[in-house]
């Protein structure tokens, strides 16, 4: 069974952390992943940086620009990850925009992911219908789970469609925003979280965007299987570097 599915069966709320590969330093990738696992994080999204990250706010834009300047590329990332499964057991997901994968070749990219022990992909600008028609067979051939986003504006009908195509979890974007936007959830969000929880979807949900501390993590996981933290962790990296991982994770879990 795919590590993501195994993890989703565990009887606990999951903490998933996003970081931009190649940031703050080009060679931090492996140590960040190892530190995150050591400190009890359940799942990791490794951000493959892109020059034009449309769905991201300033923090991740910045880390992406710097990572690219540091020399991060698809090849470099794959090379850094070549022995990752010798030391790391939690699910690893690559999150990135479609163009770099498209240039690498979608099939070649998926094949490489399988070789390295990557469990899934999140590609915000690959629409679900294009995935369904053109790429699903390839992803499945290499045992990869593709994770789709839903937002407060996504219609019930479309959520059902996305649920039917998904085979891992659904990434619930907390509010209409780019990454790293707000602090705290209001009534609008909780109403949306409740609405989705009541839909009884076949896939469990993990909430992301706007989760930055213990309070928002707790709020989100009241309604969902887990939560994803991105910008807040990237900001912490900016200040404290790859070794600051442990202190960050503790502030969330306490």
């Amino acid at each position: 069974m795919n590590r993501i599915n195994q993890k989703l069966q565990e009887n606990k709320k999951l903490l998933s952390i996003y970081f931009t590969a190649g940031y703050p330093n080009i060679n931090d990738t492996v140590s960040i992943i190892q530190n995150l696992e050591k400190n009890g994080v359940d799942m990791i999204e490794i951000g493959l940086p892109f020059s034009d990250p449309l769905a991201d706010g300033p923090t991740i834009q910045d880390s992406s620009t710097k990572a690219l300047k540091n020399g991060m590329t698809t090849e470099v990332l794959f090379d850094q990850l070549k022995d990752i499964r010798k030391t790391v057991n939690i699910p690893l997901i690559i999150m990135g925009y479609f163009n770099p994968m498209f240039q690498y070749g979608v099939e070649a990219f998926c094949k490489k992911c399988q070789e390295l022990g990557i469990d899934g992909l999140i590609i915000p600008d690959l629409p679900v219908d294009v995935y369904h028609q053109e790429y699903q067979a390839i992803f499945e051939k290499y045992g990869l789970i593709n994770v789709f986003l839903i937002t407060p504006q996504t219609s019930d009908e479309r959520i059902r469609y996305i649920d039917s195509i998904s085979n891992g979890f659904i990434y619930m974007v907390s509010s209409a925003s780019t990454t790293g936007a707000q602090s705290g959830f209001g009534e609008e969000q909780t109403a949306y979280f409740e609405r989705i929880a009541k839909m009884n979807l076949k896939n469990q949900q993990i909430i992301g965007f706007g989760i930055s501390n213990n309070e928002t993590f707790t709020q989100a996981t009241q309604y969902a299987k887990g939560a994803i933290i991105g910008s807040a962790f990237v900001k912490h990296m900016t200040k404290h570097g790859a070794d600051g991982t442990g202190t960050f994770v503790k502030t969330i879990q306490n």
């Binding site: 034009d52 990250p53 449309l54 590329t73 090849e75 996504t154």
Partner: protein, 618 residues
């Protein structure tokens, strides 16, 4: 699918095969072939059958003579005939007194296990069909099939004939092929040696069986008509689509579901037309540029979009989109701008309609386009600097998209060119199509014909070009010329010639040609003209480039600047530097004396004065 039976030789046998009603009958005019047709005449055939002459590097005079003599409707070229040869042949045939129809030209290419499809491109414009045959000892008729999987990578949308070793044993294989992607543009099956008793003598019973076994395929004459417009899924050939994050799906989907409906409403049309007339000042003149024409010894017409309110074609689109936004109940407008032309055109229509307007503009562009920034502010817009990435147009577009993600309900995003996710490229094109709609009747008045020989436009994202081409896309007698900015030169590393330097990829929500690193990171283009300084082209143009429907040229900064100065001196019109690129082609390319060439004069040069002053030390 059609059927062609090739290598006919004997009178009785020709009549027997004709009775089976294939779509094409082929006659080989090549002395070295065992099937060489050396009989005086071809018997009378049913009109539905196209008589096809097959030639191998024959002299054009001889081809023309035989086409004339046997009244051939098609020629199949099996040798090393060049694109110019095909052109020549077509033109020579069109001049024939007896030419009551177009001569179909089928160019043959031989394939074994692989094939470099890029060699097809120069033939796209002149040939009607391609024919793929097995590479072997002889030019055709080798008797075995090639690896049809190669056709999975067929990059063109030109219909083709499948040939080489097709016989009764291949029926199953053909069935599989027809159900595969590789057959998408397969137009006909071409059979020959596998149905012969001896060279040139066809086995009627075998042919009958073949036709019967493949009847479901052969009776289904799917029409492969080239379409240069968007299809129902939002694609131009393989380009276009909507590669957007889920957060944008509801907005884009709302637009997709409504744009055609709204545009078709009589009330909408009336309001759009009225504003174009009374506010923009349309129709814009189609002006015969006499002195420019004399200089280049051809007939040059200028479509005067520079005379529109705000000084460029951009306002045609913003008027359309602001009316669309109002119909959809939006109260807040966002836009991106590079040079500020689209920003000004958007701020203008927002003032006109009393809607809030936010324009994203790269920090660097704000510094170099101060007058347009001031105009937008006077018109009541808020100009927000884009501080990310390279801080120019590409990043301004990213910022506008991010704004839309954060404001999904009340906001409409007015994109300024024929780019972005479907339906934007099509919607913008339709609003700009007024340009070619007017050219049609204006040219008719002045030249007595609606169709020029060429339409020419510069391409940034491609909106003035899309509007100029729109009503001519499916008129094969109208040549389309697209002009990109070469910057300091194609190989200089400082260029914006996307059709040459770009590769297929995804930018701002659509699949198109774009300039990028080999890793798929989008790169910064360069051009002296801020309006052409975009790393992609609209998906329609990517398709026009890939299919060869349009001829793409690239013009350097210096050639463009000279052309701008020349137009000023010869015609008393100072063009925008974007437009100067389109004008510069006359120094680079020959036209015939009686060719009618219509150039989109997309904008006026006021905004560029400082640039012209600096460049020419005026």
């Amino acid at each position: 699918m059609r059927l062609k039976v090739c290598g006919m030789k004997y009178q009785d046998n020709i009549e027997q095969v004709a009775a089976l009603q294939p779509d094409y009958l082929g006659f080989i005019f090549y002395e070295k072939s065992a099937r060489n047709f050396d009989t005086e005449s071809i018997p009378e055939l049913p009109k539905s059958i196209k008589k096809t002459g097959v030639f191998v590097d024959a002299d054009i005079d001889i081809v023309i003579k035989l086409v004339n003599k046997h009244n051939l409707q098609a020629v199949q070229l099996h040798g090393k005939e060049s694109p110019e040869y095909c052109d020549d042949l077509k033109n020579r045939h069109a001049e024939l007194v007896s030419a009551s129809h177009n001569l179909e030209i089928i160019k043959v290419f031989s394939i074994k296990d692989e094939f470099d499809f890029s060699i097809l491109k120069p033939y796209e414009n002149t040939c009607n069909y391609f024919l793929f045959d097995t590479k072997g000892k002889h030019p055709g008729g080798n008797g075995y099939t090639f690896n049809w999987n190669v056709l999975n990578n067929y990059p063109s949308t030109k219909p083709f004939f499948l040939s080489g070793g097709l016989g009764l044993n291949e029926v199953e294989k053909i069935n599989q092929f027809v159900n595969s992607k590789a057959s998408k543009y397969c137009y006909a099956l071409d059979v020959n040696s596998k149905f012969e008793i001896e060279p040139g003598l066809k086995d009627i019973e075998d042919l009958k069986t073949f036709k019967k076994n493949l009847s479901s395929i052969l009776d289904n004459n799917k029409e492969i008509v080239m379409n240069y417009n968007v299809d129902e899924k939002g694609y131009y050939g393989e380009f276009g689509g909507a590669f957007i994050p889920e957060m944008l799906y509801p907005n884009v989907e709302e637009l997709r579901q409504n744009y055609l409906k709204v545009m078709a409403e009589p009330e909408f049309k009336k309001e759009f037309d009225q504003l174009l007339k009374d506010y923009v000042g349309r129709p814009s003149p189609l002006y015969f540029a006499k002195r420019l024409s004399e200089k280049y010894n051809t007939k040059i017409y200028l479509k005067r979009e520079d005379l529109n309110h705000t000084g460029a074609h951009k306002i045609n689109n913003t008027i359309g989109q602001i009316l669309m936004a109002k119909r959809l109940g939006k109260t807040r407008i966002i836009a991106e701008t590079g040079a500020g032309q689209h920003g000004v055109a958007t701020a203008t229509v927002c003032a006109l309609m009393g809607l809030e307007c936010i324009v994203y503009m790269g920090e660097i562009d704000i510094a170099r386009q101060a007058p347009n920034v001031a105009r937008m502010k006077m018109l009541g817009a808020t100009v927000v600097p884009a501080l990310s990435g390279s801080r120019t147009l590409k990043d301004a577009t990213n910022e506008a998209i991010r704004d839309w993600i954060n404001n999904p309900v009340n906001t409409h995003y007015i994109i300024g060119s024929a780019i972005g996710p479907h339906p934007y490229p099509d919607m913008v094109t339709r609003f700009q199509a007024v340009i070619s709609e007017e050219i049609k009747w204006q040219l008719k008045e002045q030249e007595g014909r609606k169709n020029p020989d060429y339409v020419v436009a510069c391409i940034g994202g491609g909106s003035n070009a899309a509007g100029t081409y729109y009503h001519y896309l499916h008129e094969p007698d109208v040549g389309i010329i697209a002009v990109e900015a070469a910057g300091l030169g194609i190989d200089s590393g400082e260029s914006a010639a996307t059709s040459v330097l770009g590769k297929e990829g995804i930018i701002h929500g659509c699949k198109t040609l774009l300039m990028q690193t080999k890793d798929g990171q989008i790169t910064e283009p360069y051009s002296i003209s801020a309006g052409l300084d975009y790393p992609g082209v609209g998906p329609m143009h990517a398709h026009l480039s890939k299919t060869g429907r349009a001829e793409f040229m690239s013009i350097t900064d210096s050639d463009a600047m000279e052309a701008g100065l020349e137009l000023s001196k010869l015609e008393g019109i100072i063009p925008a530097i974007e437009t100067s690129h389109a004008l510069a082609i006359f120094g680079q390319r020959e036209f015939k004396e009686d060719d009618v060439v219509v150039v989109s004069l997309s904008g006026r040069g006021d905004k560029d004065l400082e640039n012209y002053i600096d460049y020419f030390k005026i």
